[in-house]
Symmetry: C2
Subunit: 541 residues, 2 copies
């Protein structure tokens, strides 16, 4: 017996229509590649998105065509979010930090028909343009005055010329909510990147869930600045959730240094931001060095990798900014858990509260999760048992684009993260399953060890890796980058672990390096470190 | 090109599974018909819901079968919410305030297979039992010790006996999210009631949207007391949203008087409540008479009918309780708009802020709305143009149960409300279209006139109706119930309008009555008043 309610598909175009109709005068403020600050309203955004949808259609973009972007967080990129997906094509955001060979591989694999890019990335696109097998049109996201005098890219198009050639008389088409809306590739530290093809349904459901009070808690009174790039899993959905609720949106463009961000935070009255820990290090460094305060910022969402506890306490104690830990993956659209305390945690002493906030958080409604042992059996939520984290839900990947086999195990997606879940449902990642250190049959999580090292005043960055050991198979080895001018010995660092962790978890040795290699999304490439140092303890023995 | 995300149906059973898994120790507190306070956890609720699903199956309840309830807000009713819908049957909540003939008509029309009811309603069910054509089993929602010694109902079953006969080894079935989940009938002040058949999809989407920060803003830190009955459009979805976010749920049972409610508010630490204005009058009366304060209550959602401005200011100014105006209908699951201010309204003077809060609010994402003139053409959102409110969206009715024709007009549901929408999307109901007063070709909204009268200290209740007029066709006539012991003349009341409204809107006369008839959901039956007084001005002239 079917219900008798209206059959309305969940479409991304509904988000921009809602924003235009209900929050037409709300602002979108962007720091442009051109250097200036650009301001307009959701009404303008909606109008120009419709114009761009018409322009793209004239370039041969059809229902299901892929349109690639290589761009910062800015209003033109936002217009493409709605113009492309809203018209039934697929928005493919490429990460400019990838190696040019990977950019070519991904654009070919996705079969991008059009590639739109910011002027910053003109050299990158010029370097790869002739190698891109499927791209028919290259669009520089600039006005005529910022077009290069001559370019190696044949027939390079000007975004604002395309815009100006169209009016906004365009009706967003209505289609099946399961149609593809957008495409992101995993960063793929090993092997080729894999494409995750979101649907309108998965995106809209993720938007509802992520905006809830116990998730990102976004309202129409918020001023949201996503530092997390729009080329990195849709900036954690903020371009969608801001439209859903009518929040003011502030887009930082290429200005991701502490000074540029701080200026925007203050001038635009930002209340909520989101990004990876490395960005916040830059911002905090700037604020501390210049003895500044945040006038309006209330909350920041930290994800991508675990927020070091020291950063959390600095934000909260020194600046009154609530840190919200979130965990997600490209395969999850991306948000899976958010670290919002429960009512029962109110009134806990700070240290206990912090210990809960340091976890990755509890599942959004829509995400089922479990942890399983090596035998695949589900482990209890007891705050102790550690196993591979598995998830499922309507915004979790079913199958990679052109993937020859499903990544799922009995209907669950194996995240590759090793986690503990406590009785309140708070999940804590202890490691990537490939990074876990297997010492004498027991697992040692590398993240805890790294967090402790990071709390040492002389440490700028720390990675803990599995090094081969003659007796225990593997033992933890700490790889450390010292802060400029700071001095610390291996013995001092190892002594720093005392009382903070089980004795047998203490790393066996410390290696000091000038830099730790980072991947395109800012994560430490620990497999590279392992290649360098996996025999360190054997050689030493 | 289809997206490649998991296909997981949106099911009501997911809500109780989420609550059990992520908020297992959160409390559900109920004032029972038996008189005592009952406390258990979401874990208990989930377990007993599974047991009851098994018990209902043994009574022949199948996928799509209707299970009727006549019950207060309590844990057993909540168990049926999940047991019935979760197992694929259809929960049909009946309003016990209806006339017994209507109860029979509705249960027959719905073809209820089982009828579960609280002991309060034993006399009602005994009176109608033999007339119910389809009900095979009657279940008294009590334990064995509270069963009547003998009953006229043949084979009357005991809820707790059914529960005890089952274990909880039951897997919630998975099925199409468009399957029917629940059924509510409109109160139907004219004509037969009409059944609205919700789906799992419409219910889960409504739950997401209604919990958002700019809607009911429900978090796991809230303690929610729905005064609005669970037999009245699913208590505005709170039994679902509380499970979605893990809020503590406090269910007041039959204790809807001010003293009983106040006791629960304080003893359970209620932060958020919801109900119709008449209930709040009782609560405020109690609190004022005994010079009490609210220790924990922060917000109350008022809907069902417009909240009189005087009540809003009392709540906010005297008790620090934020009043959130909401508008909805049985046909909308029920919530359509919520009166949450925007960022731009912060810092407005109190009177201006109140004027915005007095409106019914802005649309949830998922609800499209428009106002149309008598010719069906869309009217502007200018805060002045008044027309019939039309809505559409995934939790809006498409067709009434067994309805022979669709109520929709070009895909939009005509609400029967007359409304104004301002440039910020705030909608204000000025009247029911059948209650609007057509004076000389112009429309006069009755609700404004009633609110002004209600602000007079001598007025307990006021209705404004269209009375026939020899020159203007219709003119407003005010029907007033005075407060006990209070005195006021018609001339004094009419003078009270001066300066508050356009002069030609002032009612032509006042009629004093002992009581205004109310319908089953507490709304004034203005059609009855019209029958009595529509010739009042003609007779007077």
């Amino acid at each position: 017996m079917l219900g008798q309610m209206m059959q309305q598909p969940l479409l991304i175009s509904s988000l921009i229509q809602h924003a235009e109709r209900h929050h037409g005068d709300q602002l979108v403020v962007s720091r442009r590649v051109e250097g200036d600050i650009h301001r307009y309203t959701y009404r303008d955004l909606a109008k120009r998105s419709r114009q761009m949808a018409k322009a793209l259609a004239k370039l041969g973009v059809q229902h299901g065509s892929r349109v690639g972007t290589i761009a910062w967080n800015g209003y033109r990129h936002l217009e493409l979010y709605y113009a492309v997906s809203g018209s039934g094509a697929v928005l493919h955001t490429l990460n400019p930090r990838l190696h040019p060979d990977q950019v070519v591989w991904i654009a070919d694999h996705a079969e991008d028909h059009v590639l739109c890019f910011d002027k910053t990335f003109l050299p990158l696109v010029e370097a790869v343009a002739t190698r891109l097998a499927t791209v028919k049109h290259f669009v520089l996201m600039a006005d005529r005055s910022h077009m290069p005098a001559d370019s190696q890219i044949p027939g390079l198009l000007c975004y604002e010329d395309l815009m100006d050639s169209e009016d906004d008389a365009f009706e967003w088409p209505r289609f099946d909510e399961n149609e593809a809306s957008s495409l992101c590739y995993t960063s793929g530290t090993t092997g080729n990147p894999k494409g995750v093809l979101y649907s309108h349904r998965s995106t809209v459901l993720h938007t509802y869930a992520s905006a809830l009070p116990d998730a990102l808690n976004i309202s129409g009174r918020d001023v949201v600045l996503p530092v997390v790039p729009m080329f990195h899993v849709n900036a954690w959905g903020l371009p969608y959730s801001a439209c859903m609720v009518g929040a003011k949106l502030v887009l930082p463009g290429p200005g991701l240094d502490g000074a540029s961000l701080y200026e925007l935070f203050e001038s635009e009255g930002v209340t909520l931001s989101a990004g990876v820990p490395t960005v916040w290090q830059g911002l905090l460094g700037h604020v501390q060095a210049h003895k500044l305060r945040f006038a309006t910022m209330k909350r920041t969402i930290i994800g991508g990798s675990a927020c070091p506890p020291s950063m959390m306490s600095t934000f909260e104690d020194d600046y009154g900014v609530q840190v919200i830990h979130a965990w997600g993956m490209t395969e999850l659209s991306p948000i899976g858990t958010v670290g919002i305390l429960k009512g029962k945690h109110e009134g806990l002493p700070t240290a206990e509260r912090r210990a809960i906030q340091a976890k990755q958080g509890r599942g959004l409604f829509g995400i089922d999760m479990k942890i399983v042992g090596e035998d695949g059996r589900e482990l209890p939520w007891d705050g102790k048992s550690s196993g591979e984290l598995m998830v499922r839900g309507p915004w979790v990947v079913q199958q990679y684009l052109k993937g020859d086999k499903s990544p799922l195990v009995n209907g669950w997606f194996p995240t590759g993260d090793v986690a503990i879940i406590d009785a309140d449902g708070f999940m804590q990642i202890t490691d990537r399953s490939k990074d876990v250190i297997k010492s004498g049959g027991e697992w040692i999580g590398s993240i805890d060890l790294e967090n402790i090292a990071m709390a040492h005043p002389a440490v700028a960055m720390a990675a803990c890796i599995a090094a081969k050991h003659p007796k225990w198979d593997e033992r933890p080895l700490l790889v450390v980058v010292k802060k400029p001018g700071a001095e610390v010995t291996a013995a001092e660092l190892l002594a720093f672990y005392e009382g903070k962790i089980a004795k047998w978890w203490t790393p066996d040795d410390v290696v000091f390096v000038d830099a730790i290699p980072l991947g395109a999304t800012g994560k430490m490439l620990k497999n590279r470190l392992r290649e360098l140092f996996e025999n360190h303890l054997l050689n030493k023995a």
